[in-house]
């Protein structure tokens, strides 16, 4: 997918009508007229979200065989299945904007597409699973919850289902979190260690500060983005910092504090260069996870082939 927005001269009347509708809070349906720039930005966002769902299933998938009990194993399997299901829903939505699923998947497995920064990092211990389920899914919930009121109706509809399921994931994670936080000193140390390792990726999750994020203004005007990166980061901190403190764990940023007058948290600026590097598939686990995705994509080629041959055979009348 090209990185830059296409420049197209739009019909001014259609454009004005479209802009007025979006501004009035209306939603755009699949197949309706839309400016090329809108299509491009919406597709970029939804395609990346879809990629992130199926790549996001991988770090936790590693823990299915090692989950500490059968109940945890079943819940984790269900969660991973949900994430892959979300990928399917989102690729369907992206397809309504004019790219084929084959094309998007091919680009992803070739390492030419982007997926969310947090899925480029290792899940080293069982406590990482708790952190992913509470904090990573919790962060995703802020972004996706806000986007339920975005201007593209098909995206908004699937986000309602996705958020409904993400809420279950957070509940599941809190249960794992509680078990470890109220556990032995070793379990608490394991949880604290995982939290420290995940803190920077989680602060990166919401993207660059608003002043440097190149698309923010336009995305907000089109309502492909509903809240700015910084608004979402603050919303996340307000909800999740209390969980850390409630269990007597340390927030991994010594400078983090609540400023009453400004009604916001101040924090140490994370290394944004790391986010840039990780975003270009240069994270610690990027190559390994992409290789895994490639391997299974190749290994399961026969399923896709069987399905397309079946369709061709039916079209020929070879089978009833």
């Amino acid at each position: 997918m090209p990185e830059t927005t296409p420049v197209v001269a739009e019909d001014p009347e259609a454009l004005a009508d479209f802009t007025a509708r979006v501004r009035a809070g209306e939603q755009i349906e699949a197949g309706e007229w839309m400016p090329e720039e809108y299509r491009f930005e919406a597709l970029r966002l939804i395609n990346m979200h879809a990629n992130s769902e199926i790549m996001g299933a991988l770090p936790e998938r590693e823990w299915i065989p090692r989950a500490p009990s059968l109940a945890r194993k079943m819940a984790l399997t269900a969660k991973v299945q949900d994430e892959v299901g979300h990928g399917m829903l989102l690729y369907r939505v992206a397809e309504t904007l004019g790219r084929s699923r084959d094309e998007m998947i091919a680009e992803l497995v070739a390492g030419r597409a982007r997926f969310h920064n947090v899925f480029h990092y290792p899940a080293e211990t069982w406590a990482d699973v708790a952190i992913i389920q509470v904090f990573v899914d919790g962060a995703a919930m802020q972004t996706q919850g806000a986007l339920r009121s975005c201007s593209y109706a098909p995206y908004s509809r699937v986000l309602k289902r996705i958020c409904y399921e993400e809420d279950f994931h957070i509940q599941l994670g809190l249960d794992v979190w509680r078990a470890l936080a109220e556990g032995t000193p070793r379990q608490r140390a394991m949880l604290q260690d995982a939290l420290c390792r995940w803190w920077t990726p989680i602060m990166h999750f919401f993207g660059m500060p608003d002043r440097v994020s190149p698309h923010t203004e336009k995305m907000l005007a089109w309502r492909i983005k509903v809240k700015s990166n910084e608004e979402l980061r603050q919303q996340f901190l307000r909800k999740f910092v209390p969980i850390i403190l409630e269990y007597g764990l340390d927030v991994p940023d010594p400078n983090l504090r609540w400023v009453e007058d400004e009604q916001r948290y101040v924090y140490t600026e994370p290394d944004w260069e790391e986010l840039r590097r990780v975003g270009r598939n240069g994270g610690p686990k990027s190559a390994e996870r992409l290789a895994l995705r490639q391997r299974f994509h190749a290994q399961h080629a026969w399923v896709r082939e069987a399905m397309s041959r079946w369709r061709a055979a039916r079209a020929d009348g070879a089978v009833a």
């Binding site: 349906e29 299901g85 399917m88 699937v158 289902r161």
Partner: protein
Amino acid sequence: MQGRHRDAHVHAGDVHAPDAEMALVLAKENYTRRDPCVNLWVVRADQIHATTRPAAEMFVPATDKSYRFGGSYRQQRRVLQSSYKASYRDEDQ
């Protein structure tokens, strides 16, 4: 999908499948993981006939249609059943 027998089917979403049989399998996997379901329908998207977006106007009633909701009848019944009316009727008999 249909949540319980005798409920109306409700649209849940779409799937990408080579035929109806596979579409049913994928719909089951994607849309019935949690909520109750007793029956699924799938239909090819190009087999759906729909009105256009601007045609929404044709459903807007041209005149006041409040009489279709029966609100005034309920109001009349309340007046009729009020104690004032009841005593008035008694006197009449």
